[in-house]
Amino acid sequence: MNVLVCVKRVPAFGAKVPVTADGSGIDTRHLGFTIGPHEECAVEEAVGLVSAHGGRATVLTVGPAEAEEQVRYALAMGADRGALVETGTTELDPQATAEAIVGAVERLVADDEERFDLLLFGVASADAEHGQVGPRVAAELGLPMVGSVKGVDVDASSKDLSLRRDVAGDVEVCRVPMPAVVAVKEGLNLPRYPSMPGRLRARKAPVWSIGAEPARGGLATAGLRQPEENDEETVVLGHGADAAPAVVNVFERLGVM
Protein backbone atom coordinates (compact mmCIF):
# COMPACT_ATOMS: atom_id res chain seq x y z
CA MET A 1 0.00 0.00 0.00
CA ASN A 2 1.45 3.34 -1.05
CA VAL A 3 0.44 6.05 1.36
CA LEU A 4 1.03 9.78 1.11
CA VAL A 5 0.64 11.85 4.27
CA CYS A 6 0.52 15.65 4.18
CA VAL A 7 1.78 17.67 7.15
CA LYS A 8 2.14 21.40 7.79
CA ARG A 9 4.80 23.26 9.75
CA VAL A 10 3.00 25.36 12.38
CA PRO A 11 4.18 27.46 15.33
CA ALA A 12 3.80 25.78 18.73
CA PHE A 13 2.33 28.41 21.01
CA GLY A 14 1.56 28.15 24.69
CA ALA A 15 -0.82 30.17 26.82
CA LYS A 16 -0.88 33.19 24.47
CA VAL A 17 -0.64 33.51 20.71
CA PRO A 18 1.84 36.33 20.11
CA VAL A 19 0.98 38.51 17.11
CA THR A 20 3.51 40.76 15.34
CA ALA A 21 3.16 44.48 16.01
CA ASP A 22 1.74 45.13 12.53
CA GLY A 23 -0.72 42.27 12.87
CA SER A 24 0.55 40.59 9.73
CA GLY A 25 1.16 37.23 11.35
CA ILE A 26 2.04 35.20 14.42
CA ASP A 27 5.25 36.41 16.02
CA THR A 28 7.33 33.26 15.85
CA ARG A 29 10.62 34.71 17.11
CA HIS A 30 10.39 32.88 20.41
CA LEU A 31 8.37 29.89 19.30
CA GLY A 32 9.23 26.38 18.26
CA PHE A 33 7.47 24.60 15.41
CA THR A 34 5.49 21.40 15.18
CA ILE A 35 2.85 19.53 13.21
CA GLY A 36 -0.76 19.47 14.42
CA PRO A 37 -2.27 16.61 16.45
CA HIS A 38 -4.53 15.45 13.61
CA GLU A 39 -1.51 15.19 11.35
CA GLU A 40 0.50 13.29 13.97
CA CYS A 41 -2.32 10.74 13.89
CA ALA A 42 -2.22 10.73 10.08
CA VAL A 43 1.50 9.93 10.14
CA GLU A 44 0.96 7.22 12.75
CA GLU A 45 -1.82 5.70 10.61
CA ALA A 46 0.33 5.80 7.47
CA VAL A 47 3.20 4.06 9.24
CA GLY A 48 0.83 1.49 10.78
CA LEU A 49 -0.90 0.71 7.47
CA VAL A 50 2.42 0.26 5.68
CA SER A 51 3.76 -2.06 8.34
CA ALA A 52 0.54 -4.10 8.18
CA HIS A 53 0.05 -4.19 4.40
CA GLY A 54 3.49 -3.45 2.98
CA GLY A 55 4.32 -0.59 0.63
CA ARG A 56 5.73 2.81 1.46
CA ALA A 57 4.75 5.91 3.45
CA THR A 58 5.75 9.23 1.89
CA VAL A 59 5.45 12.42 3.90
CA LEU A 60 4.88 15.68 2.01
CA THR A 61 4.86 19.29 3.13
CA VAL A 62 4.36 22.62 1.40
CA GLY A 63 6.07 25.57 3.03
CA PRO A 64 9.42 27.19 3.80
CA ALA A 65 12.74 25.33 3.58
CA GLU A 66 12.67 25.03 7.39
CA ALA A 67 9.65 22.70 7.10
CA GLU A 68 12.25 20.01 6.48
CA GLU A 69 12.32 19.78 10.31
CA GLN A 70 8.68 18.56 10.32
CA VAL A 71 9.31 16.15 7.44
CA ARG A 72 12.18 14.66 9.43
CA TYR A 73 9.98 14.36 12.50
CA ALA A 74 7.52 12.28 10.46
CA LEU A 75 10.45 10.22 9.12
CA ALA A 76 11.55 9.63 12.71
CA MET A 77 8.04 8.35 13.46
CA GLY A 78 8.61 5.76 10.74
CA ALA A 79 7.67 7.29 7.38
CA ASP A 80 9.89 5.99 4.57
CA ARG A 81 10.71 9.10 2.59
CA GLY A 82 10.05 12.82 2.59
CA ALA A 83 9.18 15.53 0.09
CA LEU A 84 9.18 19.30 0.51
CA VAL A 85 7.55 21.76 -1.87
CA GLU A 86 9.31 25.01 -1.16
CA THR A 87 6.97 27.99 -1.38
CA GLY A 88 8.56 30.36 1.15
CA THR A 89 7.08 31.76 4.33
CA THR A 90 3.98 33.53 2.98
CA GLU A 91 0.83 31.78 3.99
CA LEU A 92 -1.00 30.14 1.10
CA ASP A 93 -4.70 30.02 0.41
CA PRO A 94 -6.09 26.45 0.77
CA GLN A 95 -6.63 26.11 -2.98
CA ALA A 96 -3.03 27.19 -3.66
CA THR A 97 -1.77 24.69 -1.07
CA ALA A 98 -3.87 21.95 -2.65
CA GLU A 99 -2.55 22.76 -6.12
CA ALA A 100 1.04 22.67 -4.86
CA ILE A 101 0.36 19.25 -3.29
CA VAL A 102 -1.29 17.98 -6.49
CA GLY A 103 1.70 19.15 -8.55
CA ALA A 104 4.09 17.28 -6.25
CA VAL A 105 1.90 14.16 -6.26
CA GLU A 106 1.91 14.13 -10.07
CA ARG A 107 5.69 14.36 -10.15
CA LEU A 108 6.18 11.67 -7.52
CA VAL A 109 3.79 9.34 -9.33
CA ALA A 110 5.56 9.95 -12.65
CA ASP A 111 8.99 9.30 -11.10
CA ASP A 112 7.89 6.18 -9.22
CA GLU A 113 5.64 4.88 -11.99
CA GLU A 114 3.36 3.91 -9.12
CA ARG A 115 0.14 5.50 -7.83
CA PHE A 116 -0.69 6.42 -4.24
CA ASP A 117 -3.44 4.19 -2.87
CA LEU A 118 -4.23 6.50 -0.01
CA LEU A 119 -3.64 10.21 0.60
CA LEU A 120 -3.91 11.13 4.28
CA PHE A 121 -4.61 14.60 5.69
CA GLY A 122 -5.56 16.10 9.01
CA VAL A 123 -9.15 17.43 9.27
CA ALA A 124 -7.71 20.89 9.87
CA SER A 125 -4.28 22.48 10.10
CA ALA A 126 -3.31 23.61 13.60
CA ASP A 127 -2.73 27.27 12.77
CA ALA A 128 -5.09 28.21 9.92
CA GLU A 129 -7.85 25.65 10.51
CA HIS A 130 -9.37 26.00 7.06
CA GLY A 131 -10.41 22.35 6.94
CA GLN A 132 -10.15 22.46 3.17
CA VAL A 133 -6.89 21.16 1.76
CA GLY A 134 -7.89 17.46 1.75
CA PRO A 135 -11.22 18.01 -0.06
CA ARG A 136 -9.53 20.32 -2.58
CA VAL A 137 -6.77 17.82 -3.38
CA ALA A 138 -9.47 15.15 -3.84
CA ALA A 139 -11.46 17.38 -6.19
CA GLU A 140 -8.37 18.21 -8.28
CA LEU A 141 -7.42 14.54 -8.56
CA GLY A 142 -11.03 13.35 -9.01
CA LEU A 143 -10.72 10.96 -6.07
CA PRO A 144 -13.29 9.98 -3.44
CA MET A 145 -12.76 11.75 -0.12
CA VAL A 146 -14.00 11.14 3.40
CA GLY A 147 -13.30 13.46 6.35
CA SER A 148 -13.46 13.41 10.18
CA VAL A 149 -12.21 9.83 10.13
CA LYS A 150 -11.63 8.06 13.47
CA GLY A 151 -11.07 4.52 12.19
CA VAL A 152 -9.49 3.02 9.06
CA ASP A 153 -9.90 -0.62 8.01
CA VAL A 154 -8.61 -2.17 4.82
CA ASP A 155 -10.72 -5.01 3.45
CA ALA A 156 -8.18 -7.72 2.70
CA SER A 157 -9.98 -9.16 -0.33
CA SER A 158 -11.67 -6.17 -2.04
CA LYS A 159 -9.02 -3.66 -0.96
CA ASP A 160 -11.84 -1.23 -0.18
CA LEU A 161 -11.50 1.07 2.78
CA SER A 162 -13.98 1.01 5.59
CA LEU A 163 -13.87 4.40 7.29
CA ARG A 164 -15.50 5.21 10.60
CA ARG A 165 -16.19 8.88 11.05
CA ASP A 166 -17.66 11.24 13.63
CA VAL A 167 -20.13 13.81 12.48
CA ALA A 168 -22.66 15.95 14.31
CA GLY A 169 -23.08 13.45 17.14
CA ASP A 170 -23.37 10.45 14.79
CA VAL A 171 -20.97 7.72 13.81
CA GLU A 172 -20.98 6.86 10.12
CA VAL A 173 -19.18 4.11 8.29
CA CYS A 174 -18.22 4.83 4.69
CA ARG A 175 -17.00 2.35 2.14
CA VAL A 176 -14.57 3.66 -0.42
CA PRO A 177 -12.43 2.03 -3.10
CA MET A 178 -8.78 3.03 -3.33
CA PRO A 179 -7.21 5.28 -4.41
CA ALA A 180 -8.87 7.61 -1.93
CA VAL A 181 -8.31 10.76 0.10
CA VAL A 182 -8.95 10.62 3.85
CA ALA A 183 -8.80 13.38 6.46
CA VAL A 184 -8.33 12.06 9.99
CA LYS A 185 -9.11 13.38 13.46
CA GLU A 186 -7.12 13.08 16.66
CA GLY A 187 -8.27 10.03 18.62
CA LEU A 188 -7.88 7.75 15.59
CA ASN A 189 -4.78 6.25 17.20
CA LEU A 190 -2.12 7.07 19.77
CA PRO A 191 0.84 8.55 17.88
CA ARG A 192 4.20 7.15 18.90
CA TYR A 193 7.10 9.25 20.09
CA PRO A 194 10.00 8.90 17.64
CA SER A 195 12.51 6.32 18.87
CA MET A 196 16.24 7.00 19.08
CA PRO A 197 17.03 4.74 16.07
CA GLY A 198 14.14 6.40 14.24
CA ARG A 199 15.65 9.82 14.87
CA LEU A 200 19.06 8.71 13.67
CA ARG A 201 17.62 7.19 10.51
CA ALA A 202 15.53 10.31 9.85
CA ARG A 203 18.58 12.54 10.13
CA LYS A 204 20.24 10.77 7.20
CA ALA A 205 17.17 10.04 5.06
CA PRO A 206 16.98 11.98 1.79
CA VAL A 207 14.27 14.65 1.54
CA TRP A 208 13.23 15.38 -2.03
CA SER A 209 12.77 19.09 -2.55
CA ILE A 210 11.17 21.11 -5.33
CA GLY A 211 10.42 24.77 -5.79
CA ALA A 212 6.99 26.03 -6.75
CA GLU A 213 5.35 29.35 -7.44
CA PRO A 214 1.81 29.02 -6.25
CA ALA A 215 -0.96 31.24 -7.60
CA ARG A 216 -2.71 33.68 -5.28
CA GLY A 217 -6.01 32.28 -4.15
CA GLY A 218 -9.30 34.02 -3.37
CA LEU A 219 -8.83 33.94 0.39
CA ALA A 220 -6.21 36.26 1.86
CA THR A 221 -5.28 37.34 5.38
CA ALA A 222 -5.50 41.07 5.98
CA GLY A 223 -4.41 40.83 9.60
CA LEU A 224 -4.43 38.90 12.85
CA ARG A 225 -5.46 40.16 16.27
CA GLN A 226 -6.29 38.86 19.72
CA PRO A 227 -9.85 39.05 20.96
CA GLU A 228 -10.44 40.98 24.16
CA GLU A 229 -10.08 38.92 27.27
CA ASN A 230 -11.64 39.76 30.56
CA ASP A 231 -8.80 39.86 33.05
CA GLU A 232 -10.65 39.72 36.31
CA GLU A 233 -8.56 38.79 39.31
CA THR A 234 -8.55 35.17 40.36
CA VAL A 235 -9.86 34.55 43.86
CA VAL A 236 -7.32 32.34 45.62
CA LEU A 237 -9.25 30.10 48.01
CA GLY A 238 -6.19 28.95 49.87
CA HIS A 239 -3.20 26.67 49.87
CA GLY A 240 -3.14 22.89 50.00
CA ALA A 241 -5.60 20.83 52.02
CA ASP A 242 -6.58 23.83 54.18
CA ALA A 243 -8.47 25.29 51.23
CA ALA A 244 -11.03 22.43 51.22
CA PRO A 245 -13.80 24.17 53.25
CA ALA A 246 -13.55 27.28 51.07
CA VAL A 247 -13.74 25.11 47.95
CA VAL A 248 -16.85 23.33 49.19
CA ASN A 249 -18.40 26.71 50.06
CA VAL A 250 -17.97 27.66 46.42
CA PHE A 251 -19.64 24.41 45.33
CA GLU A 252 -22.55 25.23 47.63
CA ARG A 253 -22.84 28.75 46.32
CA LEU A 254 -22.83 27.49 42.72
CA GLY A 255 -25.47 24.90 43.57
CA VAL A 256 -23.52 22.00 42.09
CA MET A 257 -23.78 19.68 45.10
Binding site: I26, Q95, L237
Partner: protein, 344 residues
Protein backbone atom coordinates in the same frame (compact mmCIF):
# COMPACT_ATOMS: atom_id res chain seq x y z
CA UNK B 1 -29.08 39.27 -4.81
CA UNK B 2 -29.42 36.55 -2.20
CA UNK B 3 -27.56 34.81 0.54
CA UNK B 4 -28.38 31.13 0.82
CA UNK B 5 -28.10 29.33 4.13
CA UNK B 6 -27.14 25.72 3.57
CA UNK B 7 -28.96 23.41 5.94
CA UNK B 8 -28.58 19.71 6.48
CA UNK B 9 -31.11 17.49 8.18
CA UNK B 10 -32.11 18.55 11.66
CA UNK B 11 -29.06 20.73 12.42
CA UNK B 12 -30.18 24.00 14.00
CA UNK B 13 -30.31 26.91 11.55
CA UNK B 14 -30.98 29.86 13.84
CA UNK B 15 -27.45 31.21 14.13
CA UNK B 16 -26.55 30.74 10.52
CA UNK B 17 -29.74 32.46 9.36
CA UNK B 18 -29.03 35.31 11.76
CA UNK B 19 -25.50 35.59 10.46
CA UNK B 20 -26.70 35.58 6.84
CA UNK B 21 -29.14 38.36 7.67
CA UNK B 22 -26.19 40.40 8.96
CA UNK B 23 -25.05 40.80 5.35
CA UNK B 24 -28.08 42.96 4.63
CA UNK B 25 -29.02 40.80 1.64
CA UNK B 26 -32.23 38.77 1.28
CA UNK B 27 -31.88 35.35 2.89
CA UNK B 28 -33.08 32.08 1.40
CA UNK B 29 -32.19 28.48 2.23
CA UNK B 30 -30.93 25.49 0.31
CA UNK B 31 -30.57 21.81 1.12
CA UNK B 32 -29.17 18.86 -0.85
CA UNK B 33 -31.05 15.67 -0.09
CA UNK B 34 -32.72 12.49 -1.20
CA UNK B 35 -35.97 13.69 0.39
CA UNK B 36 -38.88 14.68 -1.86
CA UNK B 37 -40.87 17.89 -1.45
CA UNK B 38 -43.63 16.37 0.69
CA UNK B 39 -41.33 14.62 3.17
CA UNK B 40 -41.91 15.22 6.89
CA UNK B 41 -38.29 16.35 7.37
CA UNK B 42 -38.54 19.01 4.66
CA UNK B 43 -41.89 20.14 6.02
CA UNK B 44 -40.34 20.51 9.46
CA UNK B 45 -37.39 22.42 8.03
CA UNK B 46 -39.74 24.74 6.12
CA UNK B 47 -41.71 25.45 9.32
CA UNK B 48 -38.51 26.19 11.21
CA UNK B 49 -37.27 28.47 8.41
CA UNK B 50 -40.58 30.36 8.35
CA UNK B 51 -40.21 30.90 12.09
CA UNK B 52 -36.76 32.34 11.39
CA UNK B 53 -38.18 34.65 8.73
CA UNK B 54 -36.91 32.75 5.69
CA UNK B 55 -39.55 32.52 2.92
CA UNK B 56 -37.79 30.27 0.39
CA UNK B 57 -36.21 26.83 0.61
CA UNK B 58 -34.52 25.37 -2.47
CA UNK B 59 -34.30 21.61 -2.41
CA UNK B 60 -31.77 19.90 -4.65
CA UNK B 61 -33.06 16.39 -4.59
CA UNK B 62 -32.28 13.05 -6.10
CA UNK B 63 -33.17 9.63 -4.69
CA UNK B 64 -29.60 8.51 -5.32
CA UNK B 65 -28.35 10.88 -2.63
CA UNK B 66 -29.68 8.82 0.31
CA UNK B 67 -26.40 7.12 1.17
CA UNK B 68 -24.12 9.76 -0.34
CA UNK B 69 -21.09 11.19 1.38
CA UNK B 70 -20.71 14.96 1.87
CA UNK B 71 -18.42 14.97 -1.17
CA UNK B 72 -21.20 13.84 -3.53
CA UNK B 73 -23.65 16.30 -1.97
CA UNK B 74 -21.05 19.07 -2.36
CA UNK B 75 -20.39 18.19 -5.99
CA UNK B 76 -24.14 18.33 -6.59
CA UNK B 77 -24.35 21.76 -5.02
CA UNK B 78 -21.37 22.96 -7.06
CA UNK B 79 -23.07 21.83 -10.27
CA UNK B 80 -26.19 23.79 -9.33
CA UNK B 81 -24.08 26.97 -8.96
CA UNK B 82 -23.48 26.83 -12.72
CA UNK B 83 -27.14 27.58 -13.42
CA UNK B 84 -28.22 29.33 -10.22
CA UNK B 85 -25.71 31.58 -8.67
CA UNK B 86 -26.40 33.23 -5.34
CA UNK B 87 -24.19 36.01 -3.97
CA UNK B 88 -23.17 33.91 -1.04
CA UNK B 89 -23.77 30.61 0.71
CA UNK B 90 -23.29 30.19 4.46
CA UNK B 91 -23.37 27.07 6.63
CA UNK B 92 -22.77 26.33 10.33
CA UNK B 93 -19.06 25.65 10.90
CA UNK B 94 -19.47 22.29 12.58
CA UNK B 95 -21.56 19.52 11.15
CA UNK B 96 -22.50 18.02 7.85
CA UNK B 97 -23.52 21.21 6.05
CA UNK B 98 -19.99 22.60 6.51
CA UNK B 99 -18.54 19.46 4.96
CA UNK B 100 -20.94 19.71 2.02
CA UNK B 101 -20.04 23.37 1.49
CA UNK B 102 -16.31 22.60 1.68
CA UNK B 103 -16.62 19.96 -1.03
CA UNK B 104 -18.78 22.30 -3.13
CA UNK B 105 -16.05 24.95 -2.83
CA UNK B 106 -13.41 22.41 -3.83
CA UNK B 107 -15.45 21.16 -6.77
CA UNK B 108 -16.24 24.69 -8.02
CA UNK B 109 -12.71 25.96 -7.20
CA UNK B 110 -14.29 28.77 -5.19
CA UNK B 111 -12.56 30.12 -2.08
CA UNK B 112 -14.23 29.47 1.28
CA UNK B 113 -13.78 31.29 4.59
CA UNK B 114 -14.41 28.90 7.49
CA UNK B 115 -15.19 29.61 11.17
CA UNK B 116 -16.41 33.19 10.57
CA UNK B 117 -17.78 35.33 13.37
CA UNK B 118 -18.47 38.48 11.40
CA UNK B 119 -18.71 39.76 7.85
CA UNK B 120 -18.53 43.46 8.67
CA UNK B 121 -15.30 45.06 7.61
CA UNK B 122 -12.99 45.79 10.50
CA UNK B 123 -9.90 46.48 8.41
CA UNK B 124 -10.34 49.62 6.35
CA UNK B 125 -14.01 50.45 6.09
CA UNK B 126 -14.16 49.42 2.45
CA UNK B 127 -16.80 46.77 2.94
CA UNK B 128 -19.77 48.95 2.10
CA UNK B 129 -18.51 49.44 -1.44
CA UNK B 130 -17.83 45.74 -1.76
CA UNK B 131 -21.45 44.84 -1.17
CA UNK B 132 -22.30 45.74 -4.77
CA UNK B 133 -22.39 42.06 -5.65
CA UNK B 134 -20.28 42.51 -8.78
CA UNK B 135 -18.52 39.31 -9.70
CA UNK B 136 -15.02 40.17 -8.54
CA UNK B 137 -15.97 41.92 -5.31
CA UNK B 138 -14.46 41.14 -1.93
CA UNK B 139 -16.00 40.52 1.44
CA UNK B 140 -13.98 40.94 4.60
CA UNK B 141 -15.08 38.30 7.07
CA UNK B 142 -13.47 37.81 10.46
CA UNK B 143 -12.49 34.19 11.07
CA UNK B 144 -11.65 32.45 14.30
CA UNK B 145 -8.36 30.64 14.47
CA UNK B 146 -6.93 28.30 17.07
CA UNK B 147 -10.37 27.78 18.53
CA UNK B 148 -11.07 31.49 18.92
CA UNK B 149 -8.01 32.81 20.78
CA UNK B 150 -6.90 34.44 17.53
CA UNK B 151 -8.99 36.44 15.07
CA UNK B 152 -8.15 36.81 11.40
CA UNK B 153 -9.46 39.63 9.27
CA UNK B 154 -9.72 37.91 5.93
CA UNK B 155 -10.45 39.05 2.41
CA UNK B 156 -12.65 36.78 0.36
CA UNK B 157 -12.69 37.58 -3.35
CA UNK B 158 -15.01 35.46 -5.46
CA UNK B 159 -18.10 35.55 -7.69
CA UNK B 160 -19.96 33.50 -5.04
CA UNK B 161 -18.87 34.00 -1.43
CA UNK B 162 -18.79 30.85 0.63
CA UNK B 163 -18.52 31.04 4.42
CA UNK B 164 -19.03 28.86 7.45
CA UNK B 165 -20.20 30.40 10.71
CA UNK B 166 -18.79 29.67 14.16
CA UNK B 167 -21.11 28.61 16.90
CA UNK B 168 -22.20 31.31 19.31
CA UNK B 169 -22.02 34.29 16.92
CA UNK B 170 -24.18 37.30 17.62
CA UNK B 171 -27.19 37.23 15.38
CA UNK B 172 -29.85 39.68 14.21
CA UNK B 173 -33.32 38.96 15.57
CA UNK B 174 -36.06 38.51 12.97
CA UNK B 175 -39.80 38.47 12.45
CA UNK B 176 -41.28 35.15 11.35
CA UNK B 177 -42.93 34.88 7.93
CA UNK B 178 -46.26 33.07 7.43
CA UNK B 179 -44.84 30.43 5.13
CA UNK B 180 -41.61 29.14 3.63
CA UNK B 181 -42.14 28.07 0.02
CA UNK B 182 -40.30 24.92 -1.04
CA UNK B 183 -38.87 24.78 -4.58
CA UNK B 184 -37.68 21.46 -5.84
CA UNK B 185 -34.75 21.39 -8.24
CA UNK B 186 -33.98 17.98 -9.69
CA UNK B 187 -30.33 17.47 -8.84
CA UNK B 188 -27.84 16.29 -11.38
CA UNK B 189 -25.96 13.38 -9.89
CA UNK B 190 -23.33 11.83 -12.04
CA UNK B 191 -22.78 8.17 -11.39
CA UNK B 192 -19.05 8.47 -11.80
CA UNK B 193 -18.73 11.56 -9.56
CA UNK B 194 -17.28 9.55 -6.76
CA UNK B 195 -17.49 6.05 -5.56
CA UNK B 196 -17.98 6.35 -1.84
CA UNK B 197 -21.05 5.30 0.10
CA UNK B 198 -22.31 5.61 3.65
CA UNK B 199 -23.01 2.04 4.72
CA UNK B 200 -23.90 2.55 8.37
CA UNK B 201 -25.20 5.33 10.60
CA UNK B 202 -25.59 5.29 14.37
CA UNK B 203 -25.83 7.79 17.18
CA UNK B 204 -22.52 8.22 18.98
CA UNK B 205 -22.36 7.70 22.70
CA UNK B 206 -18.71 8.66 23.07
CA UNK B 207 -17.98 11.98 24.73
CA UNK B 208 -21.67 12.83 25.09
CA UNK B 209 -21.58 12.83 28.88
CA UNK B 210 -18.46 14.99 28.94
CA UNK B 211 -19.98 17.58 26.60
CA UNK B 212 -23.19 17.94 28.62
CA UNK B 213 -22.10 17.30 32.23
CA UNK B 214 -22.91 20.17 34.63
CA UNK B 215 -19.53 19.72 36.32
CA UNK B 216 -16.28 18.61 34.70
CA UNK B 217 -13.29 17.58 36.80
CA UNK B 218 -10.31 17.61 34.46
CA UNK B 219 -6.78 16.44 35.09
CA UNK B 220 -3.50 17.12 33.33
CA UNK B 221 0.15 16.27 33.75
CA UNK B 222 0.00 17.36 37.40
CA UNK B 223 -2.25 14.39 38.23
CA UNK B 224 0.89 12.31 37.89
CA UNK B 225 -0.38 9.13 36.23
CA UNK B 226 -3.41 6.98 35.41
CA UNK B 227 -3.86 5.98 39.10
CA UNK B 228 -3.97 9.62 40.07
CA UNK B 229 -7.42 9.99 38.48
CA UNK B 230 -9.13 7.93 41.19
CA UNK B 231 -9.72 11.00 43.36
CA UNK B 232 -10.93 12.98 40.31
CA UNK B 233 -13.46 10.21 39.59
CA UNK B 234 -14.56 10.33 43.22
CA UNK B 235 -15.11 14.09 43.16
CA UNK B 236 -16.91 13.90 39.81
CA UNK B 237 -19.21 11.22 41.24
CA UNK B 238 -20.03 13.31 44.29
CA UNK B 239 -20.87 16.32 42.11
CA UNK B 240 -22.72 14.36 39.42
CA UNK B 241 -20.09 15.37 36.91
CA UNK B 242 -17.72 13.85 34.37
CA UNK B 243 -13.95 13.48 34.26
CA UNK B 244 -11.99 15.24 31.56
CA UNK B 245 -8.29 15.54 30.79
CA UNK B 246 -5.59 17.43 28.89
CA UNK B 247 -3.75 16.19 25.82
CA UNK B 248 -0.72 15.28 27.92
CA UNK B 249 -2.90 12.78 29.79
CA UNK B 250 -4.24 11.38 26.51
CA UNK B 251 -0.80 11.14 24.90
CA UNK B 252 0.61 9.37 27.94
CA UNK B 253 -2.18 6.82 27.71
CA UNK B 254 -3.56 7.81 31.14
CA UNK B 255 -7.03 8.57 29.75
CA UNK B 256 -8.87 7.82 26.50
CA UNK B 257 -9.06 10.53 23.84
CA UNK B 258 -12.84 10.75 24.38
CA UNK B 259 -12.01 12.43 27.74
CA UNK B 260 -9.81 15.13 26.18
CA UNK B 261 -10.99 18.71 26.54
CA UNK B 262 -9.73 21.28 24.06
CA UNK B 263 -9.23 22.32 20.51
CA UNK B 264 -8.79 18.79 19.20
CA UNK B 265 -10.88 17.20 21.92
CA UNK B 266 -14.33 18.03 23.27
CA UNK B 267 -15.52 21.58 23.90
CA UNK B 268 -17.28 21.83 27.23
CA UNK B 269 -19.30 24.58 28.89
CA UNK B 270 -20.36 23.25 32.30
CA UNK B 271 -21.53 25.23 35.32
CA UNK B 272 -18.21 24.39 36.96
CA UNK B 273 -14.91 23.33 35.42
CA UNK B 274 -12.22 22.12 37.80
CA UNK B 275 -8.79 22.10 36.15
CA UNK B 276 -6.39 19.94 38.18
CA UNK B 277 -2.70 20.12 37.31
CA UNK B 278 -3.42 21.68 33.92
CA UNK B 279 -1.22 24.59 32.81
CA UNK B 280 -3.80 26.26 30.57
CA UNK B 281 -2.24 26.16 27.10
CA UNK B 282 -4.47 27.95 24.58
CA UNK B 283 -5.44 24.68 22.93
CA UNK B 284 -6.80 23.43 26.24
CA UNK B 285 -8.24 26.79 27.28
CA UNK B 286 -10.45 27.11 24.18
CA UNK B 287 -12.11 23.83 25.16
CA UNK B 288 -13.17 25.06 28.62
CA UNK B 289 -13.30 28.86 28.40
CA UNK B 290 -17.09 28.92 28.00
CA UNK B 291 -17.59 27.29 31.40
CA UNK B 292 -19.68 29.36 33.82
CA UNK B 293 -17.10 29.09 36.61
CA UNK B 294 -13.52 27.78 36.53
CA UNK B 295 -11.58 26.52 39.53
CA UNK B 296 -7.88 25.78 39.02
CA UNK B 297 -5.84 23.56 41.32
CA UNK B 298 -2.15 23.92 40.61
CA UNK B 299 1.18 24.04 42.44
CA UNK B 300 2.22 27.02 40.30
CA UNK B 301 0.44 30.29 41.18
CA UNK B 302 1.66 31.76 37.87
CA UNK B 303 0.19 29.01 35.67
CA UNK B 304 -2.06 30.59 33.00
CA UNK B 305 -4.93 28.35 34.08
CA UNK B 306 -4.65 29.86 37.57
CA UNK B 307 -4.46 33.48 36.40
CA UNK B 308 -7.44 33.03 34.05
CA UNK B 309 -9.62 31.04 36.45
CA UNK B 310 -12.34 32.51 38.69
CA UNK B 311 -11.04 30.57 41.71
CA UNK B 312 -7.78 28.84 42.47
CA UNK B 313 -6.21 26.64 45.07
CA UNK B 314 -2.44 26.57 45.16
CA UNK B 315 -1.21 23.12 46.00
CA UNK B 316 -0.75 19.50 45.05
CA UNK B 317 -3.71 17.97 43.19
CA UNK B 318 -3.84 14.77 45.25
CA UNK B 319 -3.59 16.56 48.58
CA UNK B 320 -6.19 19.21 47.74
CA UNK B 321 -8.72 16.86 46.14
CA UNK B 322 -8.48 14.31 48.96
CA UNK B 323 -9.30 17.09 51.45
CA UNK B 324 -12.14 18.43 49.26
CA UNK B 325 -13.69 14.96 48.93
CA UNK B 326 -13.44 14.46 52.73
CA UNK B 327 -15.04 17.87 53.37
CA UNK B 328 -17.87 17.12 50.90
CA UNK B 329 -18.53 13.77 52.59
CA UNK B 330 -18.57 15.20 56.09
CA UNK B 331 -20.94 18.02 55.09
CA UNK B 332 -23.24 15.52 53.38
CA UNK B 333 -23.23 13.44 56.57
CA UNK B 334 -23.97 16.34 58.88
CA UNK B 335 -26.74 17.52 56.54
CA UNK B 336 -28.51 14.16 56.70
CA UNK B 337 -27.97 14.19 60.47
CA UNK B 338 -29.56 17.59 61.04
CA UNK B 339 -33.28 16.73 60.60
CA UNK B 340 -33.12 13.82 63.04
CA UNK B 341 -31.52 16.08 65.65
CA UNK B 342 -34.12 18.80 65.07
CA UNK B 343 -37.07 16.42 65.27
CA UNK B 344 -36.15 15.19 68.69
Amino acid sequence: MTVLTLIDGPEPAEEVVGFARGTGLPVEAVTVTAEGKGSPLLRKQAEELARLGVGTLHVLCHPGLADSTPQTLGATLARWFESWSPDAVVAPADGRAAEVLTHAAAWARLPLATNCVDVVDTVDGAAAEDWSGSSSSSWTPTRERAGGVLLEDARLTAPIKLLTVSRGVETVATEPVPECAVYEHPAEVEADDVDARVVERAAAAEGATLATAPVVVSGGRGVGGAEGYVVLEELADLLGGAVGCSRVATNNGWRPHSDQVGLTGTKVAPELYIACGISGATQHWVGCMDSRTILAINTDPEAPMVTRADYAVIGDVQEVLAAVVAELRSRARSRTAVPSVASR
